[in-house]
C-alpha cells in the first residue's frame, strides 16, 4: 500500500495538466470574486476575525477547486488497465485491496496539494497581514474538518465513477452533480445541496465553528424539499457529517474492490 501511495502521489503531483487546470481555475475564481477576493474576509464584513476569514476561504476554495479535484482524479483508477500495466501489478504478491487504498490515498493527496496551497497560502498571507498567528491554527482546524472530509468522499467518487462510464462523460456529470448537489440553494429545486450528504463542509462550518449565514440564520431552509436530510447544524451533526463522508468513501472503495474481484475471475 505504501509503495503504491508513494508512486501514485509522485506520478500525479508531476502531471503538468494538473497544475495548469488548477492555475486557470484559480485565476477564474479570483477574477470572479474580485474585488472581494482582495479583502481578508472575502467581502463578508468580518475581516479581523481569523476564524471567519478561514471559513470564508474554505467555502470559496471548495466551490470551484473541488470540481477540478474530481475531474483530475477521474482517469486515475482506469489508467492501469488503459496503459496495460494492470497485469504486472496483479501478478505481484501484494494485496489488491492494499493497492487500491494506496492508489486512492496517493492520487487524492497529490490532487489535494494545490487546494491546500491555495487555502494555506491565503492563511499565511492573512497571518502576516493581520499579525495574528492563531490564524494558522484556525486554518489547520478548518481544513481538517470543513475541507478534508469532502475531499475524502469526492476522491472515492471520482476514482470509482469511470468504472461505470468513460472519464469524459463522467467529468461532465461530476460538474453537474457538484452544482446540483452542493452549490445551488436548497429551496431552488429538490437537491442534495446543504444536506448531510453534501460535500461542501457546511455542517462542519456551522456546527463546529458557529458560522452564521449572512441573513443570521444558523442553518436550514424552511420551504426546501428533502429537509429531513438537513438536521440542525450542531457539533454532533457536524461530526456525523464527517462520518458520513468517510463512510461513503469507504463504501465506494469497497464496491470498487468487489467490482475488480468480480472481473478478475
Amino acid at each position: 500500500m505504501i509503495a503504491t501511495l508513494r508512486y501514485e502521489f509522485l506520478m500525479q503531483i508531476r502531471r503538468p495538466v494538473m497544475w495548469i487546470v488548477y492555475g486557470l481555475t484559480f485565476v477564474v475564481l479570483v477574477a470572479t470574486m474580485w474585488p472581494g477576493y482582495r479583502t481578508l474576509d472575502l467581502g463578508l464584513g468580518d475581516g479581523h476575525d481569523p476564524k471567519a476569514a478561514m471559513l470564508a476561504s474554505a467555502r470559496l476554495t471548495m466551490s470551484l477547486l473541488a470540481i477540478v479535484y474530481g475531474c483530475l482524479l477521474a482517469d486515475r483508477l482506469i489508467r492501469d488497465r488503459r496503459l496495460g500495466i494492470a497485469t504486472i501489478l496483479e501478478a505481484a504478491p501484494c494485496s489488491a485491496a492494499g493497492r487500491l487504498v494506496g492508489k486512492y490515498l496517493g492520487v487524492c493527496a497529490a490532487t489535494a496539494v494545490p487546494i491546500a496551497l491555495v487555502f494555506f497560502g491565503r492563511a499565511v498571507v492573512y497571518t502576516f497581514t493581520e499579525g495574528k498567528v492563531e490564524t494558522l491554527a484556525w486554518s489547520l482546524a478548518v481544513f481538517a474538518t470543513v475541507i478534508l472530509p469532502g475531499l475524502i468522499f469526492l476522491g472515492a467518487l471520482a476514482l470509482a465513477g469511470p468504472l461505470l462510464m468513460p472519464p469524459l462523460p463522467f467529468r461532465v456529470l461530476f460538474v453537474a452533480y457538484w452544482f446540483w448537489g452542493n452549490l445551488i440553494p436548497a429551496d431552488m429545486m429538490p437537491t442534495l445541496s446543504h444536506t448531510i450528504f453534501a460535500a461542501t463542509g457546511d455542517y462542519a462550518a456551522y456546527g463546529l465553528f458557529d458560522r452564521a449565514r449572512p441573513d443570521a440564520v444558523v442553518y436550514g431552509w424552511p420551504d426546501a424539499a428533502l429537509n429531513f436530510l438537513r438536521p440542525a447544524a450542531t457539533p454532533a451533526v457536524a461530526v456525523l457529517w464527517m462520518g458520513v463522508m468517510v463512510a461513503l468513501a469507504a463504501a465506494i472503495l469497497l464496491l470498487t474492490r468487489l467490482h475488480a474481484a468480480r472481473s478478475e475471475s
Partner: protein, 290 residues
C-alpha cells in the same frame, strides 16, 4: 519449479471455451508453448500467474495449488511474469518503475532494492538509459524493462508471453539469447506463435490448438511429426494445390515450393528434411485440417 496441470479447463462468460482439459507437465529449464493466435496460450499463462481462475482442473506450481489464495500468493512470490501487452507508466524512469515493482514484490530494504535494480539494468543493457522516462523508450527497450521487472525477485518460474512480437530481428535475437541465459535453474515458460523463437531456445515444448493440448515432448519429436511429409516442388506451372505451402522461392524461370503434406503434392515432388516449423505445421494440419 515444476508445473503440473491436470484436466485444466477455462470457460469464459458467454460460453467461450479457452482451455479444454489440459494435462501438462513442465520440467525445470526453458520450455516452449506454441500455438496460433487464439489457441489459449495467454489464458494458460494468466492462470499460471494467478491472474485468472480456472473453471476446473488442478494447477500445481512447485507443489502450490495456484487456485487457492495461499497457493497463489506463494507462487507469486517466486514468479516473474512478462505479459503479452506490457504496459508501463510513461512518466516514470526505468529505475523508478523497477523500484515501484520491486516494492510491490516485497523487496523492502532500500539498499538491496537498489543493488538488484542496478544488476538487472546491467543484465538487460539499459544502465545508461535508466534515468530516462519510459515514454522515450523503443519497443525493444520496453521489453527489456519488462524482463527486468519480471526478474526483480529472482523468480524460480519465469513466464514470458509473446515476448518477441513486434521486435526487429536484432532485438528478437538479443531477447532470445537473454531468455536462454536466464533459464539455468529456473523454469522459463516461453509462450509464442513464432516457431523460430522456440527452435532457438527450447528443448521441450507443448503445442496448443483451439484450447486443446495437441503435443508435448522434445523438439526432435515435433520435427519427427513431419517426417515424410515435407516436399519440395520445382515448377514453372501452377503452385501445388494440396498440402500447406511453407515457402516459395523463385527458381530459374519457375518457382520452388516447400510443401507440408501427408502425400506428395505433385508427381515431381522430392522429399525434404523437416524443420521444427514443418513439424508444427504438420501437427496443425492434423489437428485442424483446412
Amino acid at each position: 519449479m515444476r508445473i503440473r496441470l491436470s484436466q485444466l479447463t477455462k470457460t469464459y462468460k458467454g460460453g467461450v471455451h479457452a482451455l479444454k482439459g489440459i494435462d501438462l507437465d513442465v520440467p525445470t529449464g526453458m520450455y516452449g508453448l506454441l500455438g496460433s493466435n487464439g489457441a489459449g496460450k495467454t489464458t494458460l499463462m494468466r492462470i499460471l500467474a494467478g491472474l485468472l481462475r480456472p473453471t476446473s482442473g488442478t494447477v500445481l506450481l512447485g507443489g502450490h495449488d495456484v487456485t487457492t489464495k495461499e497457493g497463489r500468493l506463494a507462487v507469486q512470490r517466486t514468479l516473474g511474469y512478462l505479459p503479452q501487452d506490457l504496459g508501463v507508466y510513461p512518466d516514470l524512469t526505468a529505475r523508478q518503475f523497477l523500484d515501484y515493482i520491486a516494492l510491490l514484490k516485497g523487496i523492502d530494504e532500500r539498499s538491496a532494492r537498489r543493488r538488484r535494480i542496478g544488476e538487472l539494468l546491467e543484465v538487460v543493457a539499459l544502465t545508461e538509459h535508466a534515468d530516462r522516462k519510459l515514454k522515450g523508450y523503443s519497443g525493444g527497450m520496453l521489453r527489456r524493462v519488462g524482463i527486468a521487472q519480471a526478474l526483480l525477485n529472482d523468480p524460480r518460474l519465469l513466464i514470458v508471453d509473446e515476448p518477441t512480437t513486434g521486435l526487429d530481428p536484432e532485438e528478437r535475437i538479443r531477447f532470445r539469447t537473454l531468455l536462454s541465459r536466464l533459464a539455468g535453474e529456473r523454469t522459463v515458460l516461453l509462450s509464442t506463435h513464432i516457431v523460430e523463437d522456440v527452435a532457438q531456445t527450447c528443448r521441450y515444448l507443448a503445442v496448443l490448438a483451439k484450447g486443446r493440448l495437441v503435443f508435448q515432448g522434445d523438439v526432435g519429436a515435433l520435427v519427427a511429426a513431419a517426417h515424410r511429409q515435407v516436399w519440395t516442388v520445382t515448377t514453372s506451372g501452377a503452385a501445388p494445390s494440396t498440402g500447406r505451402i511453407v515457402a516459395a522461392l523463385p527458381h530459374g524461370s519457375g518457382m520452388r515450393y516447400r510443401v507440408v503434406a501427408p502425400v506428395p503434392p505433385d508427381p515431381s515432388a522430392r522429399p525434404a528434411e523437416p524443420t521444427l516449423e514443418d513439424g508444427y505445421l504438420a501437427l496443425m494440419e492434423a489437428a485442424a485440417p483446412v
